[in-house]
């Protein structure tokens, strides 16, 4: 196909998948190079109202900065609940009082004037008051999926992303290697220089490119619902590590039948799930209350319970000829640390930065070395996060006494070591270290 030859012509990228990650990538590209890059985003789900999805996400500080840099956050802020504190307990369901082993207080990482993460002194001199310092931002926000998707769709349209209500069936690199031909489910074809697959864990593009997938299913399923409660959660997230797996209560913005809302996400052994879903509402509420605790007062179910499979999977490669994978198409991790969508947004930030930097150097944005660079930057981080969440899940999803004692001791120690605690806070907030992508620091490309 014909590429750009100076002013007037431009690069064309097709993004397959209109979820949060695909939308963010399309927007980042248009924001940085509106004249040089034309973006087509294809997803049959664009025809559907985003309200159908009742999930909520913990948006890390880094992801929030990225959304700010893309001018999306301002439209979301009023509907995002600050997570100011995270309490982690380790307990049996029967325990009347659940000992608190790890408390994340304060708000995220303090930032310096350059916009990077500030260093809190030398790591060997832990301050005795680690969170007494003023923090500029909460470490995460809870945002409902529909709010995020709607804001991203609207901003993409304003930014001139072509939105197609069709799926990508196949991408075939041209024989001469200069472009890629994209077949859509509506029968039409698009010529492009690069295809970005954000089309989910069963990515058709990944399979079409012959990229292998390695992974496993967990013996648990995830369950989620939105719960109303009488007392204010005060921005506190609570995670109980129960023998069957983690149970998280994540604060949402006010509303619902009792004035306050939280998202609950937990995992159950697969064999328990049909039983849970078959319970009538009163019984269900009782089951939830046993896990939820009593500290937030009376509770009510605001949405039906949704069950979803828990799995771990990683694409053998993140790139192929004129193809880049991102988000769930590249990796699916255990939701224990709430990092799935943040990991996908990191992919989008890094990929957009590599593409835009190539375009500004006059280089071919879909050339193998540009894509390799993206893969190198993202794959190690993804493997590390995937294995960490897997280890976390294995550590907490059992009731063997010595293991339980060890982890109680472990979390207790973490809580007493400011430096270690800061490390965990920093990871939870997604604060990028050196070499992190500009968008994740809140800077425009």
């Amino acid at each position: 196909m014909t590429g750009p030859a100076g002013r007037g012509q431009s690069w064309r990228i097709v993004v397959a998948g209109g979820g949060i990650v695909g939308l963010a990538l399309a927007l980042a590209l248009r924001r940085a190079a509106p004249r040089a890059i034309e973006v087509t985003l294809a997803d049959p789900a664009l025809a559907r109202d985003p309200d159908g999805d009742r999930r909520a996400y913990a948006v890390s500080a880094a992801s929030r900065r990225m959304l700010s840099a893309l001018d999306v956050w301002a439209g979301i802020a009023g509907r995002a609940q600050e997570m100011r504190e995270m309490v982690i307990t380790d307990s049996h369901l029967a325990d009347p009082v659940r000992p608190v082993f790890l408390e994340f207080g304060g708000d995220g990482e303090r930032r310096d004037d350059e916009g990077g993460a500030a260093e809190h002194g030398a790591p060997d001199e832990p301050s005795s008051e680690p969170f007494a310092e003023p923090f500029a931002e909460p470490f995460a926000h809870m945002v409902e999926s529909a709010v995020l998707v709607r804001a991203l769709r609207d901003t993409c349209r304003e930014a001139g992303v072509e939105m197609l209500e069709a799926g990508v069936r196949r991408a075939t690199p041209d024989a001469d290697g200069a472009g890629v031909s994209v077949r859509l489910t509506d029968g039409s074809t698009r010529e492009a220089h690069l295809v970005c697959a954000a089309d989910g864990k069963r990515s058709r593009l990944r399979e079409g490119a012959g990229i292998g997938w390695s992974g496993w299913d967990y013996p648990q399923s995830g369950l989620s619902a939105i719960v109303g409660h009488a007392r204010d959660h005060e921005g506190r997230a609570i995670q109980h590590f129960l023998p069957s797996g983690p149970f998280a209560m994540l604060p949402l913005t006010p509303g619902g039948s009792l004035g306050h809302r939280s998202a609950i996400v937990w995992s159950e052994r697969k064999t328990n799930v049909p039983h849970m879903l078959a319970l009538d509402e009163d019984m269900l509420l009782e089951e939830i209350e046993r896990r939820f605790g009593l500290e937030l007062g009376a509770i009510a179910l605001e949405t039906p319970i949704q069950a979803f499979p828990l799995e771990f999977g990683l694409a053998r490669a993140f790139v192929a000829q004129r193809l880049a994978l991102l988000g769930d198409a590249a990796h699916v991790i255990h939701p224990i640390a709430g990092q799935g969508v943040n990991l996908g947004l990191k992919d989008a930030a890094v990929l957009a930065e590599r593409i835009v930097s190539a375009v500004r150097l006059g280089m071919d944005l879909g050339a193998a070395d540009v894509l390799e660079d993206y893969q190198r930057a993202r794959r190690a981080d993804t493997v590390a996060m995937g294995l960490a969440t897997d280890a976390l899940n294995r550590l907490f999803s059992n009731d063997v006494a010595p293991v339980r004692m060890l982890r109680d001791l472990g979390l207790g120690l973490v809580n007493r070591m400011p430096a270690a605690k800061r490390f965990f806070m920093r990871e939870a907030a997604g604060v990028p270290g050196q070499g992190g992508a500009r968008l994740l620091r809140g800077e425009a490309l």
Binding site: M1, T2, G3, P4, A5, G6, R7, Q9, S10, A33, R35, A36, D176, G177, A178, S357, A358, V359, R360, L361, G362, M363, D364, A367, A368, D369, E372, R376, G435
Partner: protein, 258 residues
């Protein structure tokens, strides 16, 4: 007098710009220019640093925005020893009216074919810079990257390239320093140990020191603006600018507008 007047392009002075053995060596690997994993992979790794250096200095000099899609819009550019067009083609995309010269016919053919496939307007000629200069052609930007160390008479070559620069224009050059470190890294390390480059790519005694390069640029009537080192970071597998000019370095100079 014209500084390179004795280099008119007749048979014996052609030899100042072109070494037949060097040309034959590059002919053999020409087909692999655009393969980022092939014999030219080091150049591919190197390319973003070189392109950014040229783009940023040209943009600053001519008052352009480097983030603009076409910061070199309308500027004439000559790439002397363009090889497969690894620099010429991107610089043309940034808006330059670019011409690439190379003595190896396969290089020119590979560069032309690639630009055609990519839909980028660039002209490539199997011609010497002496011939272009003799016709009186002058350019806003002249570049000759990793070429000086392959020509028989580096001083004459640099002065001829300088003559191709229009008043107010810039000359960019990149090469290898003639130091023990360069011998160790660029020849023993890159060619024999790491196998980054085909053996015999470089001959150490042809390497040019920054002082020699600067002297030739000045003799060609240019004012040297900057010499900067380029070093490899093995942890990031990436090249970057550095104060260390002991191995790879780049320099640029300006022909005063007067």
């Amino acid at each position: 007098m014209s500084p390179a007047a004795h280099h008119e392009p007749h048979a014996d002075t052609q030899a100042a710009a072109v070494d037949p053995q060097e040309v034959a060596r590059f002919e053999k690997i020409a087909r692999t220019w655009w393969d980022p994993k092939g014999p030219m992979r080091t150049l591919h790794k190197f390319n973003p640093v070189r392109l950014a250096y040229i783009r940023d200095h040209v943009a600053a000099h001519f008052g352009r925005d480097p983030k603009d899609g076409a910061p070199l819009d309308g500027l004439t550019l000559l790439d002397v020893g363009c090889g497969g067009g690894l620099l010429t083609e991107p610089l043309a995309r940034l808006g330059a009216q670019a011409r690439g010269l190379d003595p190896a016919p396969t290089n020119v053919e590979v560069a032309r074919l690639h630009a055609e496939r990519a839909g980028v307007a660039v002209s490539y000629e199997q011609e010497t810079v002496e011939a272009v200069v003799a016709r009186g052609e002058r350019f806003d930007v002249v570049i000759s990257m990793e070429v000086v160390e392959h020509v028989p008479d580096p001083d004459a070559f640099v002065r001829t390239c300088a003559r191709a620069v229009a008043p107010g224009g810039l000359l960019f050059m990149a090469t290898l320093n003639r130091t023990l470190k360069a011998w160790g890294l660029a020849i023993v390390g890159a060619e024999y140990v790491l196998r980054w480059l085909p053996k015999g790519t470089h001959e150490w005694d042809k390497f040019v020191t920054p002082a020699e390069l600067e002297a030739s640029m000045r003799a060609g009537g240019l004012a040297v603006r900057e010499v900067t080192g380029v070093t490899y970071n093995p942890l990031q597998d990436a090249w970057g600018l550095s104060r260390d000019t002991a191995v790879n370095y780049m320099a640029f100079a300006e022909r005063p507008a007067g």
